[in-house]
Symmetry: C2
Subunit: 210 residues, 2 copies
């Protein structure tokens, strides 16, 4: 089980400084969609150059032009790139094909996908690397969480690794780990804490023994 730190509300130098504090406790650092929108793939390139030993995920939430966008993200140094589960199968296929060529991984973000179980089976059959259940900000704000969704896809996915994101904190992490995802994605649960290193270290301990 791996731990991913999601950065969303920082600029490039702030992001690089923040990762310094928790570098040894995380496996993957995510350049979140808000940073991509503000700064583009320049943020991915800067993070990979600052931390060549960390994997970098570019949260592009690709909805079209799957092959092209994977190619651009790979050029910038991304190791994993996100595609929306709500996108067309052709988009996911194009992304997977290009990612294999570039030796990168595709994570499909199932945010707001209806018929989650059915779509997870379909996406799994397209050869993606990760399928991620994700409760976005706008639904976290009305009290939703991704924990049940994780159970749902665990029962449906046969080939891909599974991931979970959306409001995970230190006190909810044990419940998440029980469902045995391959990747746990934490944002504010680390970045919003006073002692980021202490929280990340404890999360790493739980994830490694999970």
């Amino acid at each position: 089980m791996k731990l991913q730190l999601a950065l969303d509300l920082v600029n490039i130098p702030e992001g690089i400084a923040l990762v310094k504090e928790v570098e040894s406790y995380i496996d993957i650092v995510e350049i979140g969609t808000p940073i991509i929108i503000n700064e583009g793939l320049h943020a991915v390139k800067a993070m990979k150059e600052a931390y060549p030993n960390l994997q970098v995920l570019a949260d592009l939430k690709i909805m079209d032009a799957g092959g092209y966008e994977i190619m651009k993200a790979a050029e910038a140094g991304a190791d994993l790139i996100t595609v929306l589960g709500a996108s067309n199968d052709m988009t996911i296929k194009g992304a997977v094909e290009e990612a294999k060529k570039q030796n990168k991984e595709v994570l499909v973000d199932m945010i707001n996908v209806p018929n989650l179980e059915q779509r997870a089976r379909e996406v799994d059959a397209l050869g993606v690397d990760y399928i991620c259940v994700h409760t976005g900000y706008d639904l976290q704000a009305v009290g939703q969480s991704p924990f049940e969704d994780l159970q749902t896809i665990k029962g449906a996915v046969k080939h891909a690794k599974t991931a979970v994101a959306g409001g995970i904190k230190l006190d909810t992490l044990p419940e998440v780990i029980k469902a045995q995802p391959d990747l746990v994605i934490v944002g504010g649960g680390i970045t919003g804490q006073a002692d980021k290193a202490a929280v990340a270290s404890e999360m790493q301990r739980l994830v490694k023994q999970g």
Copy 2:
């Protein structure tokens, strides 16, 4: 009826140079998703500064954090911002609310939305400014077009303006105009032509008499 030029496969200086050629024939210039992914909102800011009299659309394809992303795009000078029809109603509501505050417009991109007619009615009821049928690159590549989808939403949408995008060329423009959208979005139909100004000028003539 308005004409929007979509820029996708250029960098910032190339985009600014390209718009120079067709500036007087278009109403809106779109900073397409591939440019946002490469350069971030810096591209929107640069385009608005270069052409303060043109409207600039930021094709963010927002899927989450609707209010926040609209705020950032507005700061960069965008006049119109896209949100995905596949996103949650809470995301669209947050986007619409912030756009009204900022005196900006929300265009909902219906790319890959199942049950198009029903979703168009729902999105229309959320108070968005434009509803746009859109055949993406990955489906244009297998021969699909947005013309039938435009008919479908024209029958369903009561309040919002309608828009159409996806492979529109000079020879298919008359067919599109017959369906009376409020906004026609053209990318390669202008940018891929040898004499961009001549094609854009003729498109403007057709759109204005449409």
